[in-house]
């Protein structure tokens, strides 16, 4: 691919990383809605999902990992960054596979992404903190599913409105 053809993709990925970074920041400002630490709406995953559906898994991985490193170094903290990375990897793998199958809606794929993100995160913290925090699992599965559904619906709406401006790559 010539550089000229790459430019729109590069620009889009840049915008998406920026958007995800800002959404991450907004979320860190909001007090935890539920009062339970670790339960978040996951708004920062909207750009990731958008890129997954328009540019494919490689772009989505780039946006997701760039955002986590940026947020981790600036405000989320290093330990949260490591947990997030583990969650992001697990969730990206599952979402990519489900998207490849092709019969599922964006919302359902996002629900799986949310749940897997939380499970991956918990697995990472289990390794670092110890088994007892596994009691958190049911809470995180429910919150991951709800957050995933929300993110999925928002992403579907966004894609619908942007379908003429984003070139699928």
């Amino acid at each position: 691919m010539r550089l000229k053809d790459k430019t729109p993709t590069l620009a889009l990925l840049g915008i998406m990383v920026a958007a995800a970074f800002i959404l991450s920041y907004l979320e860190s400002l909001l007090p935890s809605i539920s009062g339970i630490p670790g339960v978040k709406a996951g708004l920062a995953n909207i750009p990731t999902l958008l890129v997954l559906y328009t540019q494919g898994p490689a772009g989505a991985a780039l946006v997701s990992i760039a955002r986590i490193i940026l947020a981790g170094l600036t405000f989320n903290g290093l330990s949260a960054m490591l947990f997030s990375l583990a969650g992001a990897v697990v969730s990206l793998i599952f979402m990519t596979v489900l998207k490849k199958i092709g019969t599922f809606s964006i919302t359902a794929v996002s629900v799986v992404g949310g749940v897997c993100h939380n499970i991956g995160q918990l697995a990472a913290s289990c390794v670092m903190i110890g088994m007892p925090i596994l009691y958190y699992l049911p809470v995180l599965i429910v919150s991951g599913a709800v957050a995933g559904a929300l993110v999925g619906v928002i992403t579907t709406l966004t894609l619908k409105h942007l379908r003429n401006s984003i070139k699928e790559g």
Partner: protein, 130 residues
């Protein structure tokens, strides 16, 4: 023009939601097991020698024969151990609040009985790393 790509729901999604539900139910079982493991044991000793070990996960009631014919009834309920009845004169052990964390103990001096918690959680989470 309706594009199925933008549907919020498609029939096959039900499979995914069912799977998530299954994972959730499994996690509850795992939760129960982890709870049992972290619950630890109440070790009952008389005059310095171990008599019985009661897992905190299962509710029981045991009468312990202590020194000089003085008995104590040790009860385990809701993951905590406590003394319900005591023959000793002061009954300090029976007044002690239930214990559940590692290192906590109830002592009945006249009967020379001690109940000590072993292998449980040391403390509640007191901070969250961000």
């Amino acid at each position: 023009m309706k594009n199925p790509k933008f549907d919020f729901f498609r029939k096959p999604d039900l499979i995914i939601y069912a799977l998530v539900l299954v994972v959730l139910v499994c996690s509850f079982f795992l939760w129960g097991r982890v709870q049992g493991e972290t619950g630890g044991f109440a070790v009952v000793s008389v005059n310095g020698t171990e008599r019985t070990t009661l897992p905190l996960g299962t509710d029981t009631e045991v009468v312990v024969e202590g020194f000089a014919g003085l008995n104590c009834t040790v009860c385990v309920a809701d993951g905590a151990a406590y003394v319900t009845e005591a023959d000793c004169p002061d009954k300090l052990c029976a007044k002690h609040s239930p214990i559940s964390r590692t290192g906590e103990s109830i002592v009945c001096l006249p009967a020379r009985i001690t109940v000590t918690i072993r292998g449980a959680e040391t403390s509640e989470i007191d901070g969250v790393a961000r």
